[in-house]
Amino acid sequence: MKRSSAPIRKVCAGAIALAIGVLCVAPPSHADDAAATAQVRHSIAALSPAALARLAQQPPPETPATADNGSFFKTKRGVAVLVLLGAGFGYTLYSKSHDRVLSAVR
């Protein structure tokens, strides 16, 4: 009843070949760097002298938002969260065994 797997191999081989081919043929977007850079240079050159003067004065990018830390659990909200979390997990754990309808064969 076992069937030949030749067709599937052919299709797989074709798919892989197509994949490799497309990956190799299609270069990443920065392949046209030269032409694009020329366009950018043209753009910057068109800026006003005042604008160019400000280029060197811009501050570095803003630091992204900081993360919460363990001190959260020392706040009133953190304590409330711990209490509720403990109660919820505790009761669910209790339910897991207490409410279990254990099958006769397990």
Binding site: H30, S43, E62, R77, L84, G88, L93
Partner: protein, 914 residues
């Protein structure tokens, strides 16, 4: 001090509206890309572009063409900021990344002051001009607010074209692929829903069904992707409780309904509903390691409609998820879920015939796991590897552990349901994919992937035992006394192996046309440890679609696709071909000692070596048009046709026409008696039954099997996203589902419809059960000013399901002694000749939100399901002339109400989130 310029400057900063394309959906991430330009339109290279989300920030530089790209972005809310010396920093916030979205966020930078930031609130466009697929997203907000029954499997029934789990006319439930974080949680036997998860875990549900890309397979209805929450840099928690009680139920049973069907006189009552969730997510190490924990306990106690008085369900559920980002290019995620379902009072026979003694206890625990690694090679390429799976069992033990009895005279069961059933399941799956963005001959978004699935099914069934029958027995009574006794059972193991490869592209040609080609190959094998491989199919599914930006301004898109979707690996298609079914022994028990009078060896079926896997072919086209900034109008036409129906036949069976009386009309009805049963009852073949000819003893053709199912639909959908305090989705679907194979649950491969011409030929062609000629749905939300109460409504008016009268004829007339009574129940009228009344239901919910300091939010809410207490008949008693009901002296006549939509119920809840 920075000056924030808000959305009024949108026109100054945002050049092009973002475009959304659901390409990488099974990756469960999205992409943000765009071009940064100066105010004269020139592109800006070397700009630092920073993406900030809940797990931190990533910064990249624009390339020489001013283009940046963040691939593999987790779903969530983000801000993109562009910084370049000499220019005002530009920021766009409110960018909502959904699964599979490809957002185009272009930024314009102005030469400006040192401390000025130009910020805008981003707005995702309402029309997707790049994808040929149509998908529906059910957001966390919608899940929170909409009055949708909190059963995850039912969520997708709110989408246009989906009702009673049948999507676009497909077979209900088992035709739909159900994925949780990419884990296929369906039953590997029949494809139905198996695991249960916490409704409050859901971050987003995405429903794909039309023009789905090649990475999706294993369905002929829809794909339901459920994405669960994960932790981030900020602690985020939810504590939610919702409950109800008997005082919050109504009664919608009218005197006419109670008279016609006394078993419905007392409506189903929710005695206790208590469902709480506690969950917390947050950082273990800032920007690097995050956790998410959740626990839920669900309890539902009901007094169901019918003779059973108590049904008690409890399900504890735990979830843990860890996310680790050791480098900006690597993301690891592991998750584990435990859930158990415990039920007391589950009806063990037909609901109308079950009493409390005729119920069983269900024990069904399971674990679901996922391990995932994603690596970003460059802004053009990333890869993902997943190992997923689940393990569980589902046991049903009789409430009364004694042999069961069925009385052939009264049609009633007694003593016990009499049987046990143990189902073991597991699935392991490995997926790997690579995504690549290329600019050659247009712009490409390519994805290649491979998957391997190994899943196992073990089913055990048997009867309760007593002293005379230690191996189990079931009694057939007549007139209240045992007449015969049966001994039977099985222990069947079946294994699925599926190997899949796919490739797909989103090929943008020019500025307005996108082609979405793809192909998927599924190699499905079915086996048994003893019998070896018994089932083998190789399924090549092409997909081709297009999307054309008709106006060139992202406001109107014309799209369409041709797709083939194959069903998943399901053991039910071949499990009759594996050993493990014990003989059926029949005893005469009218005397003091049981006497063996018959032995039937259940045959092991053969499988057609040229069998083809079931699939559906789909052609669809749509026009989407943006109306203003918040509205979208979509017209869609759909045609679907199922192919390769699998069923079983007895190739050499011969049938003699017999004439019986159709007791509905009094007219003669031609049925077929199995003429050579003794010679052919052990010879069954599992095959694609299309074209099989049923013959009489002389070889004359009586009829030809013609299994088919077709669905045609026109859909109009109007979406209004949230603005000015309200949002809505209004849809109308005109559809027709016809065929010879129904679209109810398990109607496709696990039935034996074509084993007899009685079910294959007689009145078989017509309208399917889940045919909803007219479907109108309104899902709306409005926040009432002053009192700040969110009011939400789900109003649906849908044509009722069809039904067909049937009659059960005697086994001797049809030569089917000892066979299931199902084979003796021909349709008395063409399929779907009758229709239940339209369903007109309004569900409401209200929430009063009390804002606290910071991100705290306390809400008190109320759900009112079936707000107008409609007494809608959802099923009709369709057996002619009547059916017996436990505890009711007079049988219920054909045409009486069978089931009624649940009466009005009020649920009350409260939740604190931050």
């Amino acid at each position: 001090m920075r000056r924030i310029v808000q959305s009024a400057v949108v026109a100054l900063v945002v050049l092009a509206p973002a475009a959304v394309a659901p390409l990488l959906a099974q990756t469960f991430s999205g992409t943000i890309t765009g071009t940064v330009r100066d105010d004269q339109g020139g592109v800006l290279p070397g700009v630092s572009v920073t993406l900030t989300g809940k797990t931190g920030s990533k910064t990249i530089q624009t390339d020489a063409t001013g283009v940046y790209r963040f691939p593999a972005v987790e779903p969530g809310s983000y801000e993109v900021a562009a910084d370049l010396a000499g220019f005002k920093p530009a920021r766009q916030g409110g960018i909502e990344v959904t699964v599979g979205s490809s957002l185009n966020v272009d930024l314009m930078m102005h030469v400006g002051g040192l401390s000025e930031t130009v910020s805008v609130v981003g707005e995702t466009p309402v029309v997707d001009t790049k994808s040929s697929a149509t998908q529906t997203e059910v957001s966390q907000d919608l899940l929170y607010n909409a009055p949708i029954t909190r059963t995850a499997i039912n969520v997708f029934n709110v989408m246009p074209g989906a009702n009673s789990n049948s999507v676009y006319g497909g077979e209900a439930s088992s035709a739909n692929a159900l994925l949780i974080d990419g884990v296929d949680t369906r039953d590997p036997e029949s494809g139905t829903a198996w695991t249960f998860y916490n409704y409050n875990m859901v971050q987003e549900v995405q429903i794909q069904g039309l023009g789905a890309p090649a990475e999706y397979g294993g369905f002929t209805g829809a794909v339901v992707n459920t994405i669960t929450k994960s932790g981030g840099n900020r602690f985020a928690g939810l504590f939610d409780f919702i409950g109800s009680g008997s005082g919050l139920n109504s009664n919608n049973i009218t005197p006419a309904i109670a008279t016609a069907n006394p078993s419905l006189a007392s409506p189903a009552i929710t005695k206790k509903y208590a469902d709480f969730t506690t969950q917390l997510g947050g950082p273990l190490k800032a920007d690097k390691l995050f956790f998410f924990l959740s626990a839920q306990r669900f309890q539902l106690d009901t007094n169901p409609s019918g003779p059973v008085t108590n049904n008690h369900q409890v399900s504890p559920r735990f979830n843990l998820k860890l996310t680790w980002q050791p480098t900006p290019s690597d993301n690891y995620m592991v998750s584990l879920q435990y859930d158990g379902y415990n039920i007391i009072g589950r009806a063990g026979v037909s609901a109308l015939l079950a009493t409390d003694a005729l119920t069983n206890r269900e024990d069904a625990p399971e674990f679901v796991w996922l391990g995932q690694w994603r690596h970003i090679f460059s802004s053009q390429t990333f890869a993902e590897v997943k190992y997923t799976g689940w393990l569980g069992y589902y046991d049903l033990n009789p409430e009364v552990n004694l042999p069961g009895h069925f009385d052939g005279d009264s049609g009633l069961y007694s003593v016990s349901q009499g049987w046990h059933y143990y189902a073991d399941r597991n699935r392991d799956q490995v997926n790997a994919s690579i995504s690549h963005y290329a600019d050659k001959f247009g712009k490409h978004e390519l994805k290649f992937g491979a998957e391997y699935e190994h899943s196992k099914v073990r089913n055990r069934y048997g009867y309760a035992s007593n002293a005379n029958f230690p191996n189990g027995v079931y009694y057939y009574d007549y007139g209240g006394a045992p007449y015969q006794a049966y001994s039977y059972g099985y222990d069947v193991t079946a294994v699925n192996n599926r190997t899949t490869a796919f490739v797909q592209d989103s090929w943008k040609i020019g500025d307005r046309l996108t082609i979405n080609p793809g192909v998927r190959l599924d190699a499905i094998r079915g086996s048994n440890p003893t019998a070896g491989q018994v089932y083998s199919t190789n399924n090549l599914a092409p997909r081709i679609g297009f999307a054309w930006d008709a106006t060139g301004n992202y406001s109107t898109v014309v799209k369409g696709a041709y797709s083939q979707y194959y069903e998943g690996a399901m053991a039910s298609v071949f499990e009759r071909a594996v050993p493990g079914v014990f003989p059926k022994y029949t005893y005469d028990v009218t005397g003091p000692t049981p006497v063996l009078i018959d032995t039937i060896n259940t045959p092991i079926y053969k499988v057609d070596p040229n069998i083809k896997h079931p699939r559906v072919d789909e052609v669809y086209g749509a026009v989407e048009h943006a109306l203003g900034g918040s509205w979208r109008l979509t017209f869609t036409g759909i045609y679907r046709e199922n192919k390769n129906f699998i069923n079983s036949i007895s190739p050499n069976a011969r049938w003699t026409p017999v004439t019986v009386t159709n007791d509905l009309t009094g007219a003669p009805l031609t049925l077929y008696k199995w003429a050579n049963r003794a010679a052919t009852q052990s010879d069954y073949l599992i095959t694609n039954v299309n074209g099989y000819q049923y013959r009489d003893p002389n070889g004359n053709v009586l009829g030809t099997a013609n299994p088919f199912r077709k669905y045609k639909a026109f859909m109009a959908v109007l979406n209004k996203r949230l603005s000015n305090r309200w949002s809505a989705q209004i849809s109308y679907v005109l559809s027709q589902a016809t065929g010879t194979v129904d679209n109810t649950s398990d109607a496709q491969v696990s039935s034996n419809q074509f084993a007899t011409p009685v079910l294959a030929l007689v009145n078989v062609n017509g309208t399917l059960t889940n045919d909803r000629t007219h479907e109108f749905k309104l899902l709306g939300s409005y926040t009432i000013p002053v009192i700040e109460v969110a009011a939400n409504a789900y109003w649906h008016m849908i044509s009722g399901r069809t039904f067909t009268p049937f009659e059960q004829y005697s086994s001797s007339v049809l030569g089917l002694s000892g066979q299931s009574s199902t084979y003796r129940r021909p349709l008395l009228e063409p399929r779907g000749s009758e229709r239940n009344p339209p369903e007109r239901i309004v569900d409401l919910s209200f929430e009063k939100i009390f804002p606290f300091t910071g991100r705290n939010r306390l809400g008190v809410y109320m759900q009112v399901l079936n707000a107008f207490n409609a007494s809608t008949i959802t099923a009709t008693q369709n057996r002619v002339p009547n059916v017996s009901i436990a505890g009711v002296a007079t049988p219920v006549l054909y045409g009486a109400p069978g089931t009624i939509f649940a009466a009005r119920q009020v649920n009350l809840g409260a939740r604190w989130s931050f």
